[in-house]
Subunit: 209 residues, 2 copies
Amino acid sequence: MEPNTEEKIKAAAARLFTTRGFAATRTRDIAAEAGINLALLNYYFRSKENLYRIIMAENFQVFFRGALQIFQNQETGVQEKISLLVDYYIGRLLENPDIPSFVINELRTNPNALIQQAGMHEALKDTNIFSQISQYLEDRGSDMEPVHFILNLLGMTIFPFLAAPAFQSALGLEKEQFSQLLAQRKKLIPVWIDAIINANSLKASTHTS
Amino acid sequence: MEPNTEEKIKAAAARLFTTRGFAATRTRDIAAEAGINLALLNYYFRSKENLYRIIMAENFQVFFRGALQIFQNQETGVQEKISLLVDYYIGRLLENPDIPSFVINELRTNPNALIQQAGMHEALKDTNIFSQISQYLEDRGSDMEPVHFILNLLGMTIFPFLAAPAFQSALGLEKEQFSQLLAQRKKLIPVWIDAIINANSLKASTHTS
DNA sequence: GTCTATAGGATGATAGAC
DNA sequence: GTCTATCATCCTATAGAC
């Protein structure tokens, strides 16, 4: 059905804010994109900044909530969680490829606000992602720091979306071709992550033998 | 010695543009940061946009020129080049941690302009990075796509700088502590990259045996 | 709820004195 | 080359009619 005015504004604002950022987005553009009168934006959301906060929080949720839920599940092992995580992220980001650079940009200008708004600190403590991973690496005889592990995992998963414009332009690829490439990585990244852990555990085993 | 007015403006503009982006940076802020009169900005650079283009091009050069030079050297093998590249990037980015998110952001809003401005297309053809890597992977019996290889290498190297604000905030780390963590990666990433290639070559060898 | 009209303020750029 | 003063424009937000 035809979405109501409030939803039309939110959808238009999400598109523009995520692609252009806060300062470069005009309320007039949002109104035009939504096909509504400029005054209605303030009627429904009181101010540009308030509307922005709402969009921002939702984008941020998409980016982190899913990951937390995967790690909250106590039925699955870490190895399985990694596959689920990569699959989830790549799937989500193929639908909304602009979210990573938007989130990265906001984190740079206002890191604490976002982390707090999403309730990250408590969530991180609850799920205990760090000790899950720490334990997993230990069990596999690897001496890798959990931080490096997470940076590698997220780097391999998320970075391609950030670099997509450069790669498409430099390689002369169509958006669709690059998307297929990224979809392949759903299955490849878990294998690569595994190889990295083995590299560290092999080194450790020769030391202890 | 005391830098002259033109240099003061450029330095201030570089700081503000790279941290806030084009739209969020006011010419008045640049003037204040540089400690000069607002009118001088237009006297030396004619317009905000022109000043921005200059800063942007220089940032972009830092980001890509060094990498190209490493791959242009015909005396070194690919494996050595990877170590040099990782070392170069992490070293440079520890000095200017804001460059990646700035470049990423500009690439999103205007991909072709940047690539062209830096003369990337010709440079990429000249150095032939792709076929160097392609050949290297083949020699090592890996069936990995060169694109994936490059995405992994850059993802592991650059992504941590993009995620730094989030990680520092989420983990409660000081900037200095996180920098040390990133410096460690200079030596670690080449090892991990090697492990990933081995993972692919092992799979290939069991297929052909 | 939706529109028009406009207030109120900030911004990029320049004219003109020194 | 550097300053002050100011213009023209654009932007967010709101008042008030319907």
